[in-house]
């Protein structure tokens, strides 16, 4: 039962282009300095997320390079133990919290509305708030590091090392509060993504036509909602133990340090999937586009994403095998960890089948996707090894684990990410990157990566522990460490060529057509870069791959106002039109709220009273954010007392 039936109207091209011009005026980004801080355009917010996260990736990479230089030779004195502790903690924290999760979120904010055919994201002011909080958290961490109060207890900040007894100063508090910043940013991003995919889909885009990357972002967002509260609790209890003398982790007063590990890893393992699952969506996207055929096993791939998400919550104890937990429990987590290979395998076979039956084009994005196959599968193999308790007891806290986690995360997430950034670069900037430079950067990264991390498997097996700032000569570790350092330098050059390519393309690159890769999803149906309102005209979707399979002359959606920021809200399952909705206008208040919240969070490192007095400014800012401005521009619903016909429409059967 459609509430908006298809009818015939005499629409001319002239009328459509007039509407398009009006839409561009209505949705134009805010201007000036105030405008910059008031931005609610999802493409700009998404781009800010991506660029900021890449900047943190570079910083995290520099820290890694410093560690590799220190470890290049035995008894090297470039970096002392205290700074080294900060370096590996900052590196892990940066890569997990300030790069991997936010960059995937940024891609989601940029592309989810484009993939589902919407004019914008749901709750754009909330997304803007999320960005400012993320930026403030990252700046706070690096300023603290420069002031010599950078965290130094590892990216998980275990107690008792990080507790009040063994962690004097403010370093552990810096870590705990950074977690608050990044988790708030991720949580609001998750809500925005879920609501966008559920309610803003173009008519015709039923749930079984949602593009794979949007599915991956949706599943990831649900994981964020159920995983992040655990780390919120872990970091809050840690800071309470340190600041106001609670005893959550104090053995002498009935607390337990192991509780911290449970809370942390109940988040920490899903965290890996928060990075990995969006990348699986990117893999499906790239493989479909460059195999020139619809993806094989769409339903299987979606099921695999959902299954991985569920299983991801039942694996956390495999990070704690050496703690000495009951053996039956450990066996359960071994089995669960091995089971995760099933959905991963399903995905890989679907992709192989797609390439096998398609016509593969070896463009740079596809090379990055193929790099995934080599690197991630090796990482998966070593994952099965360390999932087994006896092997893990031997290899825990050695370089074998460092090798494993980098194979999984760089292979499983960073390679698909670089592929996707290359793939979407023309859409985001309107310029084509240089193919030859793209190829070179792939090979530099691929070879450099394997040269850096493959020797670490061996280093771990012959006993080199993680997180040591130096080692003695004569242990047989010298050559392998030197090789790893050479690999790290190669990777750095690879990352540099990627940057050079991007800058060159922006200045000199060929102008990009709307669909330079002949891909099938909706973002390629609009200009490169997309106009402020994303699409016009908006055509009803008739298939999973609209640019390949939709018949010409699909009905156009009309009646969504173009003189104000109005969007069409559709129903969850079948995307039938439901109601029109006035999307929020640009506002400075999300920025002000974020800054007031930042002030409160930093103050609360020093005094618990910050949570009382410091919470007043953010509350006031939020009231301004929420307060309706001046005369309502929703004139058609004003005054509501006279709105009986609309009342019936609004409360009628859904």
């Amino acid at each position: 039962m459609s509430r908006a039936p298809v009818i015939e109207l005499p629409l001319t091209d002239e009328m459509l282009s007039r509407q398009s011009r009006e839409l561009a005026r209505t949705w134009a980004p805010a201007r000036g300095i105030i405008g910059f801080f008031s931005e609610v355009d999802h493409k700009r917010i998404g781009m800010r997320f991506i660029l900021t996260a890449l900047a943190f990736f570079v910083l995290g990479g520099v820290l890694a390079a410093l560690m590799r230089l220190q470890l290049a030779f035995p008894e090297n004195t470039l970096i002392g133990p205290d700074l080294y502790n900060q370096l590996f903690t900052m590196h892990g924290t940066t890569m997990m919290f300030l790069f991997a999760v936010p960059v995937m979120e940024g891609l989601g904010l940029y592309f989810t509305p484009l993939l589902v055919g919407a004019r914008t994201i749901a709750l754009p002011r909330l997304a803007a708030f999320g960005y400012w909080i993320f930026l403030a958290g990252g700046v706070f961490l690096y300023v603290s590091f420069l002031l010599n109060i950078g965290p130094d207890n590892g990216w998980f900040s275990y107690v008792p090392l990080a507790g009040p007894e063994f962690g004097p100063g403010k370093r552990a508090d810096t870590w705990a509060q950074l977690i608050t910043f990044t988790e708030v940013a991720s949580l609001v991003g998750a809500i925005v993504t879920i609501v966008t995919i559920f309610k803003y889909r173009r008519p015709g885009m039923t749930l079984d036509r949602v593009p794979m990357f949007a599915w991956a972002e949706l599943v990831t967002s649900f994981m964020i909602i159920f995983a992040m509260p655990a780390v919120m609790l872990a970091s809050t209890t840690l800071i309470l133990d340190r600041l106001v003398g609670t005893h959550f982790f104090n053995q002498a007063e009935g607390g337990d340090p192991i509780l911290y590990q449970h809370l942390f890893w109940f988040f920490g393992h899903p965290e890996v999937y928060l990075i990995f699952l969006p990348a699986q969506g990117l893999m499906s996207t790239l493989i479909q586009a460059f195999s020139s055929r619809p993806i094989v096993g769409y339903v299987w791939l979606v099921t695999a994403l959902v299954a991985t998400a569920f299983m991801g919550f039942g694996l956390w104890v495999h990070h704690m095998f050496t703690v000495g937990l009951p053996q039956n429990g450990s066996s359960f987590f071994t089995a669960a960890s091995m089971m995760i290979a099933i959905p991963s395998g399903v995905q890989i076979f679907c992709w192989i089948a797609t390439m096998w039956t398609g016509r593969v084009r070896l463009e740079p994005p596809m090379l990055f996707a193929l790099g995934y196959f080599v690197i991630f599968i090796i990482g998966g193999m070593t994952g099965i090894m360390v999932a087994s308790v006896p092997v893990d007891l031997q290899l825990h806290d050695t370089y074998f684990v460092v090798a494993h986690l980098h194979y999984v995360l760089i292979g499983g997430a960073v390679f698909p990410l670089f592929g996707a950034l290359y793939y979407w670069f023309p859409k985001m900037t309107g310029r084509m990157p240089n193919r030859r430079l793209g190829m070179i950067s792939f090979w530099l990264l691929f070879i450099g990566f394997n040269l850096t991390f493959f020797p670490m498997h061996q280093l771990g097996m012959i006993g080199m522990p993680r997180r040591v700032y130096t080692y003695l000569p004569g242990l047989g570790w010298e050559t392998l460490n030197l090789a790893a350092t050479a690999g790290a330098i190669t990777m750095a050059i690879g990352a540099l060529t990627l940057t050079v390519n991007a800058v060159y393309a922006l200045r000199r690159g060929e102008a990009a057509a709307a669909n330079p890769w002949q891909a099938s999803t909706l973002e390629w149906s609009t200009s490169s870069p997309p106009p402020p309102h994303n699409f016009s005209p908006e055509r009803v979707i008739a298939s999973r791959d609209p640019l390949w399979d939709d018949p010409p002359g699909q009905p156009i959606v009309v009646g969504v106002r173009s003189d104000k920021r109005e969007v069409l809200v559709t129903r969850l399952l079948d995307a039938e039109p439901d109601h029109r909705y006035h999307s929020p206008e640009p506002s400075i208040w999300p920025f002000v709220t974020a800054m007031a919240t930042t002030f409160m969070l930093i103050w609360s490192i020093f005094s618990p009273w910050a949570l009382v007095w410091g919470s007043i400014p953010p509350a006031i800012a939020m009231i301004f954010w929420f307060w309706p401005r001046g005369r309502s521009i929703d004139d058609e619903t004003h005054p509501p007392e006279k709105g009986r016909p609309q009342l019936e429409a609004a409360t009628g059967p859904a």
Partner: protein, 201 residues
């Protein structure tokens, strides 16, 4: 150019909606899922800490029942004005929405006052031992939600009395009432953990 083209005309659709059709309902549900998970994990931490020691509560008396129980009764009663607020808002009835949101706000403030007394009869401090820490955390986290709800309700009530008013404000009032149900119903398991669990063993 005179040929007609097929279109889907949505101009007659409403410009707002209540319940699961609205954007705000989904956003609120997301918030509830996040905070519900946080409460569930705090309760899990409580149970975990309880397992670690032979005596529970360790070395202190259980919290007094009076204030906590009184709060619970008032909170459950407050569901009635909350329900009436939600209904009035969904019927776009300005007068009744004003009336019931004011009554709901009164109840929420009473809730907060009673909560202050609860803190005085817990029979432990947050730094007494790990038991005290988790009890204070549970009660404190829930209280933060009550405070948030009082502020939200006060702001929406103020808008209803001073304007500018349009249909979206009724959706806000309806969703605020939905969120209040979460504040109420998340309290019941926390009440059971704080007040009943120490007496069961």
């Amino acid at each position: 150019m005179s040929a007609t083209v097929p279109v889907v005309d949505v101009s007659r659709l409403p410009s707002f909606a209540f319940g699961h059709r609205s954007i705000l309902w989904w956003a609120t549900l997301g918030l509830i899922a996040i905070e519900g998970t946080a409460f569930a994990l705090m309760i899990a931490a409580y149970i975990y800490l309880k397992w670690r020691v032979p005596e529970w509560p360790p070395g202190v008396a259980p919290p007094d029942l009076m204030w906590g129980t009184l709060t619970t009764i008032v909170v459950l009663a407050s569901c009635i004005p909350n329900h009436l607020t939600k209904k009035a808002a969904e019927q776009l009835d300005v007068g009744r929405t004003r009336l019931w949101i004011a009554v709901s706000l009164g109840f929420a403030i009473a809730f907060l006052v009673l909560r202050a007394f609860e803190f005085t009869t817990l029979n432990c401090w947050w730094d007494t031992n790990a038991y005290g820490s988790i009890v204070w955390m549970l009660l404190g986290a829930h209280t933060a939600h009550v405070i948030t709800d009082v502020v939200d309700t006060a702001v929406i009530a103020a808008i209803f009395f001073t304007g500018p008013l349009d249909a979206h404000r009724f959706v806000d009032a309806s969703e605020n009432a939905a969120y209040y149900y979460f504040v109420v119903f998340s309290w019941l398991p926390i009440y059971a953990v704080i007040y009943l669990a120490p007496r069961l063993v």
